[in-house]
Symmetry: C2
Subunit: 340 residues, 2 copies
Amino acid sequence: MIKVAVNGYGTIGKRVADAILKQPDMRLIGISKTTPNYEALIAYRKGINIYVPQQSFKKFEEAGIVPAGSVEELIKNADIVVDATPNGVGAQYKTIYRQFDRNAIFQGGEKADVADISFSALCNYNDAINKKYIRVVSCNTTALLRTICTMSKVSRVEKVRATIVRRAADPKEVKKGPINSLSPDPATIPSHHAKDVNSVIKNLDIITMAVVAPTTLMHMHFLDITLKDRVDKKDIIEVLSNTPRLVLISSKYDANSTAELMEIARDLRRDRNDIPEVMVFEDSIYVKDNEVMLMYAVHQESIVVPENIDAIRASMGLMSADESIKITNTSLGILKGYLI
Amino acid sequence: MIKVAVNGYGTIGKRVADAILKQPDMRLIGISKTTPNYEALIAYRKGINIYVPQQSFKKFEEAGIVPAGSVEELIKNADIVVDATPNGVGAQYKTIYRQFDRNAIFQGGEKADVADISFSALCNYNDAINKKYIRVVSCNTTALLRTICTMSKVSRVEKVRATIVRRAADPKEVKKGPINSLSPDPATIPSHHAKDVNSVIKNLDIITMAVVAPTTLMHMHFLDITLKDRVDKKDIIEVLSNTPRLVLISSKYDANSTAELMEIARDLRRDRNDIPEVMVFEDSIYVKDNEVMLMYAVHQESIVVPENIDAIRASMGLMSADESIKITNTSLGILKGYLI
């Protein structure tokens, strides 16, 4: 049983913590929190150990949350830490992880050089085995890599051109915008996503463009993939249907937008309405000779959760890719084939 | 002096009418309106003749607007009609234009076969000379065609792949959505824009994908153009700088979103904040061998206005492309080079 700590308990941290609680081979020893907000209170009520900065003990106690200890103690008590602190803060914490000689999983908001390897379970799990520091790439990059590595089972991926329409903010973020604008992010090409994909698949010819749209639900990607060989649409649908962590959305049931996908997640009683699978609009799949175009939606809040779980097993050298991915998918109810 | 009628006085119609008022060789004989709303009242106060359906005379008079006559009279009094009625209604009106033997300019909401030719001034003006019925393609297609035909001055355009992020509604449309969703439009590939481009440039290898985002200000396009020859970025910037109806946005002045472009239009005191020029984010221009990628914004309410003016001159056989485009640009204050 690996003892896992989650440092940072925001959008990603709380989901990774819940996912750890569902793993047969892991024990969540606690999470860290800097402010005693609603997320801290709900975690505390669930019996999760809350570790806080030394200077914040009083603040938490006043809010009715008795800390289990300091953040340093949390790290010391763990075999491995999932760092889900805000962008850039993980790099600062690395000093402490190193001081206590703890393995750590970082998020995509950190620079690639924070870790020994950037990670996507379907692409390079085995290269990450026994790596002390692993960085799970960001939500958009995770979606790109899952899709590209899945396509590569059909034919070698020679070129990728992608437009990423990003959500402006997560549903809980009330201070971010835009609310009525399309904001290129950045107004230069390529966006950082191409480089981030290259941190996992070196030398892939990929160029990405990104724009922020005023929505909170999901990102969407518009991909143009050039394969080595001519392919049939049915081969693409087959490989997408048979790969867990990607699901197809049929137009048959009138779910043609991110809002309707979210409604499906609610009706299916998914935890927090999460859909960690890449959601491919089946009818969008368009094949012309060796070129495949498609559209999919990315639930930014949850997509990296299964990759974080796999990264823990890879870092600890517990098992192979296939074994870990299978346990993660089963424990989290992650599908393949049609979402409904 | 050509006598021009504008049938339909909504988003496009009112702008075309104002543009006609600025042309040295045209006279606006009147516009048609079916309801005496604020647009009708403001037009009436400006002294524009309002023609209305026979059965609506009383309704208009009660609203303080004295009709100049019926819609049939408007058509009869004109040499040419610009049809700016809602999508699909133009095809019904064609019977009446034909009955009175009047030339007509249709909008992109009509099917291509409504007219003798689909039109983009920078692409095929001369083919449209003396054509009785001309269809000005839609806002998105107009932007695509302006850009593609401009690029073709540098090298033959061999392939275009585009993602179109559409605005959900015009600013005045209060009953449309989505308000918090990305809605593929449609969730199939290609979107109709590719076919519409092919209505002007036959046989171009173009595939488009479209999605609606919850914003009202502008569309944005993300283009990947493959040219016959390798090109330099400076050649692309040069041709874009030297073509009126396309302008460059420099990142120097921090206008990196559609909201900020709109603010520039307001600060420049553009009529109705309109920017009929395609607005290219200069720093987005990315060249890799013979491949050019770029991002631009499209002001859906006004972009087709200059094309409608040119289409009138082409249909009436008044002058060549170069002459008409020059007069249209000068009269409407349409720029080339940098927006600011």
